[in-house]
């Protein structure tokens, strides 16, 4: 979707806050949200649905919520959508019927558990790749109204395939709860193709794109 999340190339944000932005967290609540996210509290959903949930935060709120605030409300949205919690429970922060407490894990246990995040997204398919390294591709101009990972700035643009990664789960399908494999490539775009004379002719932008993102 052409949402506010699709920020590549948008102008007017001013300089990057290099100095104050150097730390990962500014507030303790941000650390708590990250800790919850690492603990694996979501199940029976795709990463694409999680990302699409963030994209459905209204545009003005998307820009004004801090990063981990977006995560917090997205967790709430997912629990509500899953019917794992009621609106009253989410707003009050209390379960109507408390469950048995989860067992506590130690530092060593969570560090070991973290290795489980080393997940592969390959989905083997019979179809052979239709493109090869060195091919020129033209990207689609119109993309689906739902989730997609072709950024607006790289649409209707010509690039060159520099790598093929096999078949990976297509995010557009993942956000609809389906697992569909499609060949994935790294495409190199000249800066001048994307930004015209504004770009430095020496520079390139690389994107991983699925086959259906090409014309």
């Amino acid at each position: 979707m052409d949402g506010m999340h699709d920020l590549g190339g948008k102008q007017g944000f001013g300089p990057v806050d290099v100095k104050n932005g150097d730390v990962p967290f500014h507030h303790d609540w941000e650390r708590r949200m990250w800790g919850m996210a690492r603990a694996g509290l979501l199940s029976n959903l795709t990463i694409d649905w999680f990302r699409h949930g963030l994209e459905r935060i209204a545009p003005a709120n998307y820009l004004s919520y801090r990063y981990f605030d977006k995560w917090c409300v997205n967790y709430m949205m997912i629990y509500l959508d899953n019917a794992q919690a009621s609106m009253d429970e989410v707003l009050s922060g209390h379960a109507q019927t408390p469950a048995d407490p989860a067992p506590a894990k130690t530092l060593a246990e969570v560090i070991e558990a973290g290795k489980g995040g080393h997940v592969k997204f390959e989905v083997p398919i019979d179809a052979l790749p239709s493109r090869a390294v060195g091919d020129t591709v033209l990207t689609q101009r119109i993309m689906p109204v739902n989730h997609t990972r072709l950024p607006a700035y790289a649409r209707n643009a010509r690039g060159t395939i520099i790598a093929h990664h096999g078949s990976h789960a297509l995010p557009d399908a993942g956000a609809l709860g389906m697992q569909v494999g499609e060949h994935l490539y790294t495409v190199s775009f000249a800066g001048t193709e994307l930004w015209g004379a504004e770009a430095d002719p020496r520079d390139t932008v690389m994107l991983e794109l699925w086959e259906s993102y090409f014309v």
């Binding site: 944000f13 990057v16 990302r51 899953n82 209390h94 994107l207």
Partner: protein, 213 residues
């Protein structure tokens, strides 16, 4: 089970926005007490994760990988061939490293990484990303005016240097191997790792020095 209903998600977000307190600290507190009472996680487990990312899972891991790549040509070759496998030598595999790729900076190429669509980042090897990496300004500008962004980070590029921006919007993640600075001949892995900055592995720092930072 998720409904995968996009408009429903938007409606829920609107309702939450209207009814939640505006202070995000209170929102996160409500979420935390709810998931604990629902038996999904223990408070001590959240503490442990916070501690893990404060102490052990962070850019020191990436710096160790870079230092070994500088010292050991065979490891460097394996890292460039399949970084997701090579980091298992250290037990550093984890969140968002399943399709990790390593990129080499050279005298005429500078790499930098962004995710314009969210803020994808190789957590298990670099820790939680700095706030600027997640900022709208960086996400918007890195692909369009990378040289201006690099200048804001104090990066100076020679005339012959091309900038390659990697917009990591799929599941591939990147770690940059910066150039080893002069004056570090004979250094061991610990000493080398100590001068590798986090930003040099994202691409917003380029010239490392034997003095460190």
């Amino acid at each position: 089970m998720a409904t995968y209903d996009s408009d429903k998600a938007a409606d829920i977000h609107e309702h939450l926005h209207s009814h939640l307190p505006s202070d995000p600290a209170l929102r996160v507190k409500a979420l935390e007490s709810l998931v604990i009472e629902k038996g999904l996680v223990a408070s001590q487990t959240i503490d442990a994760w916070v501690e893990a990312y404060a102490e052990q899972i962070g850019p020191k891991r990436g710096a160790r990988v870079v230092a070994r790549a500088w010292l050991d040509p065979a490891f460097r070759a394996r890292l460039l061939d399949d970084a997701a496998e090579a980091i298992k030598d250290f037990g550093f595999e984890g969140s968002a490293t399943g399709h990790l790729k390593a990129l080499e900076n050279t005298t005429d190429t500078h790499n930098m990484v962004v995710c314009t669509l969210c803020s994808c980042y190789p957590f298990s090897i670099l820790g939680m990303s700095p706030a600027w990496y997640k900022s709208s300004a960086y996400r918007a500008r890195a692909v369009r005016e990378p040289r201006q962004v690099l200048a804001e980070f104090g990066v100076e590029l020679g005339d012959g240097v091309a900038v390659k921006v990697w917009d990591s919007t799929a599941e591939l993640r990147y770690i940059i191997i910066p150039e080893r600075p002069a004056g570090t001949e004979g250094w061991d892995e610990d000493a080398l790792a100590a001068i590798v900055t986090r930003n040099s592995m994202i691409g917003t720092d380029r010239t490392l020095t034997a003095q460190g930072v």
